[in-house]
């Protein structure tokens, strides 16, 4: 499936990875997602992560490039379709349905949510992986992967990325290009392997959270894109929490063209937000930004900086 000749990353085989064919141990369906450890499915997952992040970046750029967004979106859809055919997608979504977010992740993720729900802040129920603006999904991943609530959540820019992040290991790419392809790939490989192990060791939750972002992001964003798999059973808690979120955020038009349903920022607001928060703030409404400011402040207090 993947092109030949690429060092380490791709397996030549065009076979679809079948769980039973893997030399791994036979496990229950809940953990089956983890045992698809063939390099192909890892690479595919990494590609999916990378693509989703790129879409977020698309969303945040001053001038979202529609062609690029569409191409990346099509790639994601292709991966999702394949994962659906594999049965991997089903397994993942089942695992996610049963997942429960560990409490220690809640604070960090609350910070990242668009809503400032006081109840949520108290840590009632998991609602970390909002798809409202893919940036939330991304930042949630960051929090999850770091596994460290107290680590400072850097809101102002996406570029400085922890090397521990699976998906983030690809961010180095767009921002720093060098001719040393082999080295970059090796690094990515190592990071990836470490990450996948870390994922597994952190417990199912870490993995599932990570996957949640992808699945929900994928579904919500790509909505009616010929996705063949059935939608996962909606989590009533999540539904309730998202009930007052403006559904137009899910509109692909919004994502792809960077337009907002109710633009609230004027030009001077834009300039302010650029200086204070960097490009990420461009896609937020002004009310959100003030919320994020507050949350920033609260985080600082909690972290005790």
């Amino acid at each position: 499936m993947f092109p030949k000749g690429t060092k380490r990353k791709f397996s030549d085989s065009g076979e679809e990875p079948v769980p039973s064919g893997d030399p791994g141990p036979v496990v229950s369906s809940a953990a089956a997602a983890r045992t698809l450890s063939s390099s192909y499915s890892l690479q595919r997952q990494s590609l999916l992560d990378m693509s989703l992040i790129k879409l977020q970046l698309c969303h945040m750029l001053v001038e979202p490039n529609l062609c690029r967004s569409v191409l990346i979106a099509n790639t994601v859809r292709q991966i999702q379709e394949e994962m659906t055919q594999d049965g991997t997608w089903q397994i993942m979504t089942q695992a996610l349905a049963a997942a429960q977010c560990p409490a220690d992740r809640l604070v960090a993720t609350e910070v990242l949510c668009r809503q400032t729900d006081a109840a949520a802040q108290a840590g009632q129920s998991p609602k970390p992986f909002s798809v409202v603006g893919l940036e939330d999904g991304y930042r949630s991943e960051e929090a999850v992967m770091e596994g460290d609530v107290e680590s400072e959540v850097n809101m102002s820019t996406l570029s400085p990325v922890s090397p521990q992040l699976t998906s983030a290991s690809y961010l180095a790419g767009p921002f720093g290009m060098g001719p040393c392809w082999e080295e970059e790939e090796e690094e990515c490989d190592e990071d990836e392997e470490e990450d996948s192990e870390e994922c597994v060791s952190e417990g199912e939750d870490g993995d599932r959270d990570h996957l949640t972002a992808d699945s929900r992001t994928g579904e919500q964003v790509f909505g009616t894109f010929e996705i063949k798999h059935p939608a996962p059973p909606p989590d009533p808690a999540l539904e309730e929490l998202f009930s007052d979120v403006d559904p137009s955020y899910y509109d692909l038009d919004t994502v792809l063209t960077g337009m907002q349903s109710a633009p609230k920022m004027g030009p001077y607001d834009l300039l302010e937000s650029l200086s204070s928060h960097g490009p990420t703030a461009l896609s937020s409404s002004s009310s959100c930004r003030s919320d994020l400011n507050e949350l920033d402040h609260i985080m600082e207090i909690i972290v005790g900086s």
Binding site: P3, E63, F225, G266
Partner: protein
């Protein structure tokens, strides 16, 4: 027309100067280059919204060896950065495309466009000025009528040549998405501007109205899977134009069929090769440029790894396929990671449609001779451009032992990309834009 194609590798020699801006900023990055229809003028547009026009020196009899070189003729600010208040987005001033109109009088006309607005510029010379006014003196101050005792007739006196550019038409507010191409019709009365989802037809005289002739926007934007990447009018048939898509297809449309040309009259697409299929197949099949041949019989398309020549009479597969940098096929994941896979390379025909040229990375550009099937890789760089010396062909080593002059794939500099090139309409003179530098190469004088 010289029998240029016999001389392979192409014996281009660099000029004595390489035209570049003295300090390199982001705004100096050249974003488009275009010769006019006579080849006398060469226009470049940059990211800062400026247009620089070069004019070829007249060949002097005293120095026949020194073929006409290009010098700066006019510089003007075509577009300024704007802000879209409704969407809270900046509109870049970067010039995406320049197209010349054929010359009809002493002045030169060109169309330049950024993401949203097309402008028609008139470039004219002034080498005389009237002197001897009665009512005002040479400084322009009004004279006191009571001091005028006699009348004189103003006379045109020669002055230093002044080249001025004025915006004659501004075609705005017709595009929701980013304009990627413009094309002047052979009727010289209309032109099309194309964005990601629509093609609009304008009359050069009318700026407040345009006709939408292609619209591929789906009712539900979530269903969007394909965008328009480029469009061009047929060079002779004023009713025919072609547009390319991000899925690797080209549609030829006839404006006589219907007002809205959503139904194509020809559809060019090569079936996918299942053996090379990957997750990146679609991205690398996205066409970044489409160009009709000068004779109007062929179409050339550029996708990420290849250039294809299509016969307009054959829709199911291209006539010829040329590999530009196939060694990148194994690097697609890395190129996707750093976004290079989305780079939009242009392609260009020579005057006789026998040779095609396109850019690559590491400041390399490639030429393919359609008749002899030979190709060459050349480099646009200062180090390799000794004046009057012939450009040395370059070679990329794909594997195994690297020879002395070869460069390995891993050493390629992907930040040095040649996206924009243009070929003189009659002669073997090419202009190549390498980031902020413009290289003009002429072929060897025999």
């Amino acid at each position: 027309m010289k029998c240029f194609s016999r001389y392979l590798p192409y014996l281009f020699r660099p000029p004595s100067t390489i035209l570049s801006s003295t300090c390199h900023t982001e705004a100096d990055i050249i974003s488009t280059v275009e010769f006019n229809s006579s080849g006398e003028l060469l226009a470049t547009g940059d990211k800062g919204g400026r247009v620089v026009v070069f004019q070829r020196e007249q060949e002097s009899k005293s120095q026949p060896q020194r073929r006409g070189e290009y010098n700066v003729y006019s510089t003007f600010q075509s577009h300024e950065p704007e802000f879209d208040y409704l969407k809270s987005l900046e509109i870049e001033e970067k010039i995406n495309k320049i197209k010349w109109l054929p010359q009809q009088n002493a002045a030169y006309f060109l169309l330049s466009t950024n993401d949203k607005t097309v402008k028609l510029w008139k470039i004219s010379e002034r080498d005389k000025r009237p002197e001897g006014y009665n009512l005002k003196d040479e400084d322009g101050r009004i004279r006191d009528p009571s001091t005028i005792t006699s009348l004189r007739v103003p006379v045109l006196q020669p002055m230093d040549l002044m080249v001025e550019a004025t915006a004659r038409r501004i075609f705005s507010n017709a595009h929701t998405y980013h304009i990627n191409s413009i094309s002047v019709n052979s009727d010289l009365q209309t032109f099309i501007s194309t964005d990601d989802l629509r093609v609009n037809l304008w009359n050069l005289e009318i700026t407040d109205r345009s006709f939408n002739i292609v619209d591929i926007k789906p009712a539900n934007m979530e269903e969007l899977t394909e965008v328009i990447t480029s469009a061009e009018f047929h060079p002779q048939q004023c009713h025919t134009f072609a547009y390319s898509s991000s899925k690797g297809s080209i549609r030829l449309c006839d404006m006589r069929q219907a007002a809205l040309c959503d139904k194509h009259c020809k559809y060019f697409e090569e079936p996918e090769d299942p053996s090379t299929r990957s997750f990146f197949s679609e991205i690398i099949s996205s066409i970044s440029d489409v160009k009709f041949s000068h004779n109007g019989r062929y179409l050339m398309t550029r996708d990420y790894l290849t250039v294809k020549v299509w016969d307009l009479q054959m829709e199911n597969k291209p006539l010829e396929t040329y590999q530009v940098h196939d060694y990148l096929r194994g690097k697609l994941c890395s190129l996707y990671e750093n976004d290079c896979i989305f780079d939009k390379f242009e392609c260009v025909w020579n005057g006789s449609d026998s040779v095609i040229m396109t850019g690559s990375y590491n400041n390399f550009f490639r030429m393919f001779d359609r008749n002899t099937k030979r190709d060459v890789t050349l480099e646009a760089s200062r180090e390799n451009s000794k004046p009057r010396a012939i450009l040395k062909p370059r070679k990329v080593c794909v594997g195994g032992k690297r020879r002395k002059d070869e460069i390995s794939v891993d050493s390629l500099d992907f930040s040095k990309k040649i996206l924009h090139t243009t070929w003189h309409p009659h002669e073997n003179i090419i202009a190549v834009a390498a980031t902020n530098n413009l290289y003009i190469f002429q072929d060897k004088v025999n």
